[in-house]
Structure formats: C-alpha cells, structure tokens
C-alpha cells in the first residue's frame, strides 16, 4: 500500500512538473522574454528561416455548425493576413503561424473547451475564438492562463475582459445606432427585436430596448430559435403587432424565413439585421424580392468592396475568392492581435502575461482605414468601447450584395450610453 502511495505521488509530481514545463520563461538573443507558444525555431511555413515562430491558435466553426459559412472565410482571411505580416518582416525576430493549431469547435462549448485544452500548451494566444457561448466556455481558463484571444463575435461582455481583444461596435451599440438611423429615416413608433436566445441575440435586443426607452418607441421583445421551420412564432408576432421597424439577430436562412414569411402576408415595415443575418445567396431565394424591399443591414465595418487601404490589402491577399464579408471580418479581427504582439515585442516581454500587459497599453489600433482612428482603445476599458456602425442596403450588383447607405457613424443614443455592465443583462 505504501509503495502504491509513493508511486502515485511520483506520478503526480511528474504530471505537475510536466504541466509547468510550458510556462518556463526564456530570453532570446534579442532580449525578448518568451514562455509558451514561441520558439526560436522557424515556423513550418516560414518566409525567413532565420526568424523564430509565434504560434497562435484558431478555434472556429469549420464543419457542421451553424456559422460555418462565415467561419471558413474568417479563418482563410486570417491565414492570409498573417502570411502578409510574415512577408512584410514578421513581428520583431519572429514570424507568426496560424495554420498548425486550427481546430473545429462545431459551435459547441464542450468541443471548444476540449480543443482549447488540446492546443493550449503550444500557443501564445488565440488568433480567433468563434462564437459567444463557445468563447464563454473557455474564458475563465483564458483569464487564469493569460491567453489573449480575438473573438469572432461582438457581445458587449467582452468590453469587461482584459484577455479579449474585440474589434468594432458590439451588438448592443450596433442596435442603438440602427435605431438612431431608423428614427431619422423612418420615424417609427413601434419597434420589435426578433432574436435568437443567448448573448448574440439578447445583446442586440437589449440595445434595441435601451434605445427604444430613450427614443420613446413602443418596444416588443420576441425570442426565436435556429431553423427555418421555427420562425412561425416570430412571423405571427410581427403580423399581429405590426412594428414599424424590426431589429433582427438570427442566421441568414432564418432571417429570410422571417422577412419572406411576413412580407408574403402583407407586412410592409422595415427590417434592420446585424451582419450575421446576411448572405448574398439570399437574393436568389424566394425571399429575395422581400429582402430587397424591406431589409437593411447594420454592420461593424465596411463590406468587402469598401475603398480603404486595409480592404484593398485584403482583396489583394485573397485573389480569386468569391467575395464574402466573412473574409472582411477575419481580416479586421487580426489587427489588434498584431498590435498586441508588436507592443509586447517592443516591451521585450512576449510571454503570455507580457501580451496581456501589452493589450492594456493599446490606446488605439491601426486598422489601415478599415475602422476609423481611435478604434481599438483597450487601455480605456469599457469606457473605450468603439461605438460606430455602418448601415447598408441590398444591392444585387455589389460584390457581397450590399452597399452602404450610411457611412460609419456614432448615433446620439450610443454616444450618451455608458457601458457599465453587459447589455444582455438588461433585457
């Protein structure tokens, strides 16, 4: 028995020491401190073999989840983004690899945690963690392990997390801006939020509710579910209550079922959907005419065809790709990661803790014009939340089926709003 106990103790000690192995700090030739996910050896697809490698993980919805149509181009754009960074000299004495630790989360929180634990010992940070519920599943561990991540999601809760480096206005602010725009253009009296449950839909609906209270609109909150066969309740609510404007936060097929179903039964009000509600192929669906007539899109940045140096660099880096704003998002989300790594290298501390410290020092990020100056103020905490939104309309001739009708703007409601807790808690 005694022998068994001492054997177990030895095994436990070995496991504990093994666990610590990843966090040993080293100092490279250039004097930059490193620990996990950074090697002196070159990246597998190195441009310059003399440089070391920073490994970033990607956890995305790549095969069978509901956001695969966006996740695949997001991931491709991020690979292209970092290839461009490496071709332009990398980050200090390092290049960046985002190809070795790419994992599929199937948009499932349990799977996300499983694959995160699998790649965690080998990565410095996450170039992408897709989805709000999935990211929530690994967030406590990310905080405990100082793993910085760029989320492919826009929930307002991220403003309160040091390890999350989000880009663009969150869903809550976006809905406020959408209603400020609607107030100006359509003069609504009744507003309805039709949304999925969870902090994607709830966050947008909370923004619509807070804006409605401020602007004096009658507000109705209608929850729906994923699946075109599950939209009858939402369509029924729209037809019964006849709102002037509907703020929509669903997937694209669901959005078409709601808009097409309501329009087919005579509804003439307006719909403003967040960017994940749109897919250009909807124009070929039976709901195409209804979408063209009634739908506009609120978005956190300009779409694929926008004229900015960043957009142009993205298009040049992705030749032959069918335009999709999944690419645009993946590209934009990479800039703050790049800025954080550059800052960490400049500070001489490329450890995980060093990257977290570098994020807190970023008062702005250069998005090469894809977002205006002032975006990416992580030093400002929740007070530094970026609050601008673009509104687009359906345009069959545009590369992604939408063109802007209102350039990036911060509406009066969002401007006056203080983000002191996640919006979805106020729904």
């Amino acid at each position: 028995m005694k022998r068994l106990a001492s054997g177990a103790a030895v095994v436990l000690l070995a496991v504990a020491l093994g666990g610590c192995r990843g966090s040993d700090t080293e100092t490279g030739e250039s004097g930059v401190k490193t620990d996990v996910g950074v090697t002196a050896e070159p990246c597998p697809e190195a441009v310059n073999k003399d440089k070391g490698c920073i490994y970033l993980g990607i956890i995305s919805d790549l095969t069978e989840g509901p956001f695969r149509a966006l996740a695949v181009p997001i991931t491709d754009a991020q690979k292209a983004f970092w290839k461009r960074v490496n071709s332009n000299g990398g980050i200090g004495d390092y290049e960046v690899d985002v190809t070795k630790y790419v994992r599929d989360n199937k948009y499932n929180p349990q799977v996300t945690n499983q694959v995160y634990q699998e790649i965690k010992p080998n990565i410095l940070a996450l170039a992408q963690t897709l989805g709000s519920p999935t990211t929530a599943a690994i967030l406590p561990d990310m905080k405990a392990s100082n793993v910085v991540g760029s989320p492919a999601a826009w929930t307002s809760a991220y403003a309160f997390e040091d390890v999350i480096i989000e880009s663009g206005a969150n869903y809550c602010i976006e809905s406020m801006n959408a209603l400020d725009y609607a107030n100006e253009v359509y003069k609504p009296k009744k507003v309805m939020a039709v949304h999925l449950a969870g902090d994607y839909g709830d966050d947008a609906a909370a923004g619509a509710k807070l804006a409605s209270e401020k602007l004096g609109f009658e507000f109705a909150d209608v929850k729906t579910d994923t699946g075109t066969d599950k939209q009858a309740g939402a369509v029924g609510a729209i037809l019964q209550q006849q709102p002037d404007v509907v703020i929509l936060t669903t997937g694209p097929a669901d959005a078409a079922a709601v808009i097409g179903g309501a329009a087919a039964r005579g509804f003439k009000g307006r719909f403003i959907g967040t960017s994940p509600t749109w897919n250009p192929a909807l124009l070929q669906s039976p709901a195409g005419p209804a979408l063209t007539a009634l739908y506009e899109q609120s978005g956190p940045w300009g779409s694929w065809g926008t004229d900015s140096p960043g957009h142009k660099a993205m298009r040049d880096a992705l030749p032959g790709k069918t335009p999709s704003d999944g690419y645009t998002s993946g590209w934009v989300w990479s800039y703050p990661v790049k800025a954080a790594l550059e800052k960490a290298v400049a500070n001489g501390d490329l450890t995980r803790a060093g990257v977290v410290a570098a994020v807190k020092q970023l008062s702005s990020v250069d998005y090469e014009g894809m977002l205006p100056a002032g975006a990416g103020n992580f030093a400002g905490g929740p007070g530094g939340t970026f609050k601008q939104t673009q509104i687009s309309k359906v345009d069959a001739t545009a590369p992604t089926g939408v063109t802007k009708v209102r350039d990036m703007f911060e509406g009066p409601t969002a401007k006056a709003f203080t983000l002191d807790k996640p919006c979805f808690e106020q729904l």
């Binding site: 095969t63 069978e64 989840g65 509901p66 695969r68 149509a69 695949v72 181009p73 449950a197 209608v222 929850k223 729906t224 579910d225 994923t226 699946g227 075109t228 066969d229 599950k230 009858a232 309740g233 939402a234 029924g236 609510a237 019964q240 209550q241 997937g251 694209p252 097929a253 078409a256 079922a257 097409g260 179903g261 329009a263 087919a264 039964r265 005579g266 897919n279 250009p280 192929a281 909807l282 070929q284 669906s285 039976p286 709901a287 209804a290 069918t322 999709s324 999944g326």
Partner: protein, 294 residues
C-alpha cells in the same frame, strides 16, 4: 378566426412534411426493429441533391432523381453499415446509424458550400387568398404530395408481393424467412424507401425559403411524431405528423398571448404533445401493445 384557420392549414402543410419524415423512421423500424438516426442526414443529402440538380433538370426533374439517389444512399448504408450487424442488439445498430448520420452530414456540408442554398421550387412564397385567409402554395403542395405518396405506400404494402413480404417480415422475421421471404431484400427496400421519403420530405421543408447545414434539425421533430403515433404504425406516423404540425403552428399563432410561457414555446410543442399522449397511451396512438411474460 382567420388566424386560427391559417394556423391550422399551415400546420397541415408542415405536418405533411413531418409525416413523410416519420414514415421513413417507421418503415425502417418495422422491418429491422432499429430506430435509424441517419434519417436527418438522408434528408439533408436529398435536399442538397435537389438544389444542385434543379439547375439543369428543373425542380420536377430534380425531385424524383434526388429521391432515387437518396434511396440508393439508404441502400448503401444498409449494405455497408447495418447488414453486417444483423444479430447484434438493436441498440448497437441504432448507435451506428448515429455515427453514419454525422459522417454523411459532414460530407454533405461540403456540397452546401459557404452560401445558403434553395431548392428552386415553383411555389416560392406565393399565397392563395380566400377571404381573409392566406394559404401558402408550398403548404398545399406539401399536403398533396404527401397524400399521393402515403396512398401509394399503403397500396404498395396492401397489394404487391413485396409489400406483403415486408408486412410478413415485420410481423415475424423467422416465420417469414421460413416461408421464403428474403428478409435481406426487405431490409434493403426499407432503407431505400426511407431515403426517398426523407429526400421528398426535406425538399418540402426547404421549399419557399433558403436552407443551410442546420436543416437536418427539422428531421428531429419526426422523433416525437413516431413516439406519439406509435413506433411501428404507418397510419400513426401520418396522423402523428399532422397532429404535431397543427399543434405546433397553432401554438406559434397564439404564443404571443402567453409571454409567461417563455419565448417561442411552439418549438417544444411536439415534445409536450408526445408526453401527454404517452401518459394516456404508453405505446403511442396506434402502436402495438407489447405483452411480456414475467
């Protein structure tokens, strides 16, 4: 009143789709005593085939071809994954079908691509208006198509030799085998029929809108339908499908008056209805009561 009639008729249309999907489950269960969890994947495969074939063949050309190809896929699953498991517990085979479902959906998702797709159906969002009542063309078409297919199936089981063989095998496999019925052929035909029905049902589920990889979730509603109707009853699948469709759409019509029930409560209606029926009739509305000696 018009919203009640609209909800009811919409429910008949949606319920017809559920009935077609449920019939596939029941046909396989009757023949093999296995609940096939591969039906959602067969449905998705059929719909994706229609969406691709409709461009060169048109919708009416694509639908039968896709149904035939999905039937062949069903046949392939039976030959490749199910037949080697004959003699094993039904539970093991059911779990294998679960794995087959995931594998097929991953492959089918590649053919869906990154954009939403549509089946190019001729109905779109067109409606027939009678007085104040709007009835969508696709729901009328789903009901008519289901009626024709169900009538054809019942005639097949009643009047053909193979139909008789399938009924015999469903009643008692060993006795049927002793009488010269090819039970293997019965198994194969069951899977093929279930595949074809899944393709047609799925196509009507996708008609009038767009679909993506999440469409497979629709087929899961067939599970409460078959439990409600009776696992081994073809009429039960039809009545159960229509009942679930009507209940779901009527709840969707009126759920806004009961916000205290939570959001979109119509989604759980099939399961609530199933539980209520099982409380009164544990073997479903038309299921065979099993007698066990203890």
């Amino acid at each position: 009143m018009s919203s009640f009639v609209e909800g009811f008729l919409r429910g008949i249309g949606v319920g017809s789709v559920y009935a077609l999907l449920a019939l596939g489950f029941v046909i396989i269960y009757k023949a093999t005593r296995v609940i096939s969890f591969a039906q959602p994947a067969l449905m998705l495969a059929g719909v994706v085939l229609v969406s691709h074939l409709a461009v060169p063949l048109g919708f009416w050309g694509a639908l039968p071809v896709a149904a035939l190809l999905t039937a062949l896929l069903g046949l392939g699953i039976e030959r490749g994954a199910v037949r080697p498991m004959i003699g094993r517990p039904a539970f093991v085979v059911a779990i294998i079908t679960l794995g087959v479902d995931v594998a097929i959906r991953v492959v089918v998702n590649i053919f869906i691509g990154l954009d939403v797709r549509n089946v190019h159906d001729p109905w779109g969002l067109g409606t027939l208006v009678i007085g104040d009542v709007h009835i969508e063309h696709r729901h009328i078409a789903a009901f008519l198509c289901a009626a024709v297919l169900v009538a054809g199936l019942f005639a097949f089981f009643r009047f053909t030799r193979m139909g008789l063989a399938m009924r015999a095998a469903a009643d008692d496999q060993e006795a049927a085998l002793a009488q010269g019925v090819s039970v293997g052929a019965v198994f194969a035909l069951s899977w093929a029929l279930a595949g074809a029905l899944a393709a047609v049902g799925g196509t009507f589920a996708a008609a009038g809108g767009s679909f993506d990889g999440t469409l497979w979730l629709t087929a899961l509603v067939a599970l409460p339908v078959i439990i409600l109707g009776g696992l081994d009853s073809l009429p039960g699948a039809v009545v159960g499908g229509l009942a679930v469709g009507v209940a779901q759409e009527l709840v969707a019509t009126y759920q806004n008056h009961t916000p205290w029930l939570g959001g979109n409560v119509s989604v759980i209606t099939p399961y609530v209805l199933m539980l209520l029926v099982l409380l009164v009739r544990p073997y479903g509305l038309f299921g065979t009561r099993e007698v066990e000696r203890v």
